[in-house]
Symmetry: C2
DNA sequence: GGACTGGTTTGATATCTGTCAAGATAGGTC
DNA sequence: GACCTATCTTGACAGATATCAAACCAGTCC
């Protein structure tokens, strides 16, 4: 998961998705001067890491954050 | 910071350091079937990321976690 | 069904990164 | 000062990764 968030593009993607509870790919793509193939690749990486999930609704595909995965991140480094 | 923790070796290093409040390089090295040069390189990466800090005390060098940096990690992805 | 739009997958390529070996530095001991 | 140990730095190289272009798949609308 840390590795997935290690790329600045993916970190911003995750942050964007976290901020809106649900986000269409068509809203993510224009934010990143990158080809749609690359966007899709990064989203797949985040999904493979278990950080996000997605669903197709008609023409569009929506992504959202997996809350459990995010919660697990902090625990790894807490001193207690 | 996420990038620094993206490598499994560095994540384990950070976890080891977090667990003991302060750790000597000579305690870290034997835990990872890697050359001392590589260990040093990873520690430098973590230090450059602001996750840990170090101090030389006589012959040995001690590393510890930067608590503020760790606290900042979770905030980035929390929905609120 | 054909064309158009939104997303994904694949293939190729340039860059980045982890690793080691070897040389360099710092402190301690004699 | 010479030597030894612990750590860091440098140079080189193999494997991973980000990116694009192009081909491909899924829905929608005419």
């Amino acid at each position: 998961m840390f590795k997935a968030l290690g790329d600045p593009v993916r970190l911003q993607m995750a942050s964007m998705i976290a901020a809106k509870a649900e986000l269409c790919v068509c809203e993510i793509t224009p934010a990143f001067d990158l080809s749609s193939g690359t966007i899709s690749h990064h989203l797949k990486t985040l999904r493979t890491a278990g950080l996000i999930d997605c669903e197709r609704r008609g023409t569009y595909v929506y992504y959202w954050l997996q809350p459990d995965a995010v919660a697990a991140l902090g625990a790894l480094l807490s001193p207690g």
